[in-house]
Amino acid sequence: MTNTSTIARGGGKPSAPGRRRNSPQRPARASGLPPWVIPYVLLVPGLVVIAGLLLYPLFQMIVISFQKVGIPQINGKKPAAWVGWDNYTKVLDNEIFWSSLRNTVVFAAVTVTLTLVLGTAVGALLNKLGKKMSTVVVVGIMSAWAVPPVAQGVIWRWLFDADAGMINWVLNLLPDWLSSLLFGRADWTGEPWLNDALTIYLVLIICVVWASFPFIAVSVLAGLKGIPTELYEAARVDGSTPWRTFRKITFPLLKPVFSVLTILSIIWNFKVFSQLYVLMNGPTNREAFNLSMFSFAEAFRSPPKMGTGAAIAVILTLLLLVVTAVYVRQIVKTEEM
């Protein structure tokens, strides 16, 4: 590939081939390094960061999960004692671990499904809308996506506020008979949404879906724009139904995009922290912990139990790795690395 352009140039300028022979040495002289070293030199800072801030701490975390690390050890007054699998057995015996695990998995499953369905629907809608309208909607949904997670939590905590929140006002608007039929009650004033694990997660799901469907929608839109229109024309000429067209053309072509979006959503939703932290006002309600919050609370709320916290973090990481191994394998397979 690259040779063709050089030869074309060489044809125009007789002296070019001679110069070209010199060119490999020129950069070497300029930087004073043999050429094969250059990529490694360029990689050094990045590798140092990855090794020092990600890989080594990962190793340390595994070690800590087998140790007892409390205040004396944090302050360096006592060396950390090796306790074997103690931290793990303690964690597995703890009810809060099992409720955290359930919260993490159920929340991720529900949120990923809702985000993908809503995001895909909106992406398809954007593809059908006129240019002006679609730009307006894209700017709108992007501003929701852009809101920082902490501010997302603040906004939805305010919307679901017991006394002055908008949601209770909306629910009060429903005709009494309908409200009683659906929810068994008519008066919503003062309904505290954020006291109970179940309703905290209801609010959290709405909050996270609201903030993350835009990314799915815009990605699906980009994917749809990339499908050649001739395919659809051909399908129409052949009398294909819309559903059949979707199943036979749109879906297969967008499949790689969907699988990436699914995995990214799983990764993001498995470890949601900031929004949950705001909605339940710090690690207060133990029934509403997810694994991230549980690990955080064990390690950093007094008395700090870093060993147990690390054991929970190891379990969370293993769970994520199992899920994402599929993704890594797929990328490595399709990649022309």
Binding site: R9, M133, S292, E335
Partner: protein, 283 residues
């Protein structure tokens, strides 16, 4: 119904759906901004007031002068800006070097490095919390913004390299070769040819890192014990007081925190989606 009428009706339905999506996305943001300009009478009411009839700058004034947790909100904005900009500057240089190596050189270990980049992105930040906390304490970086900067570089760099390399790879190699042939050194080629063409991608990557560092809550919570070192996400938590919440003030604070991110987002929106999806799909 005639086909034309049906088509028109379909179009109306589509646009109506578009309007609904727009309202669902934008209303909560609007509600945050409008609450920060409402008077307390109009905030703490069981009535619904879609458009405030009285606007006030009281809340904004209060968070700027009284602030929260003992400091003006400016200090927290400044801390957040220092952390985010520090992360971007260091991260951009490192990412550009590594991305150039991957996209421009064939070397031994290149594909292993790419796989490594993918795998480290799967490590949840929460998993590194405990060891990094202990390391930062040991290194004497506890309670210092520099400690947060270093950690944010670690959190954002793998993705930064991953995203940037697609932009470097998109610059035709023949351009650089032309420069070499004309006698430019490798460095001059980099500065005059590659850099200007990669600059837009570098901006997009930098903004992504900026936003990540700006929004980061969990490390800022554990690495800063003194309130003068809080970043915005931490400071906002302190508005939720024991005696009830000052919703006007917290909305003013949240709005201040959100505005820079939204502006950046809209600036690089298209490139960022391309980068995210391309980075993930095609690699």
């Amino acid at each position: 119904m005639t086909p034309i009428a049906r088509k028109r009706l379909g179009k109306v339905a589509l646009n109506a759906a578009g309007v609904l999506v727009f309202i669902f996305a934008v209303f909560p943001v609007y509600w945050m901004v409008s609450t920060s300009f409402k008077t307390n009478d109009q905030i703490f009411t069981t009535e619904f007031i879609p458009f405030p009839t009285e606007l006030t700058l009281d809340h904004l004034h209060r968070v700027l002068t009284e602030g929260v947790a003992g400091n003006s909100i400016w200090l927290y904005m400044r801390n957040s800006a220092i952390v985010a900009l520090g992360t971007v500057v260091i991260g951009a240089v490192f990412a550009l070097l590594a991305a150039t190596a991957i996209a421009r050189f064939a070397f031994k270990g290149r594909s292993s490095f790419l796989v490594l980049l993918l795998i480290v992105q799967m490590i949840p930040a929460e998993a590194l919390l405990i060891p990094l906390f202990l390391n930062v304490k040991r290194l004497g970086l506890y309670d210092q913004l520099l400690g947060l900067i270093v950690i944010n570089v670690g959190l954002t760099l793998p993705f930064g390299i991953w995203m940037l390399r697609t932009f470097v790879a998109a610059v035709p190699k023949s351009l650089e070769e032309a420069a070499w042939i004309d006698g430019a050194s490798r460095f001059t080629t980099f500065r005059k040819v590659l850099f200007p063409l990669v600059a837009p991608g570098l901006v997009a990557t930098s903004i992504f890192s900026f936003i990540t560092a700006w929004n980061e809550l969990i490390f800022a919570l554990i690495l800063m014990s003194d309130s003068s070192g809080y970043t915005m996400p931490v400071a906002l938590q302190f508005f939720f007081g024991q005696r009830g919440t000052d919703w006007g003030a917290i909305m003013a604070g949240s709005t201040m925190m959100t505005i820079p991110v939204v502006v950046f987002f809209l600036l690089v929106q298209r490139r960022m989606v391309t980068g995210l999806v391309a980075g993930a799909v095609k690699g």
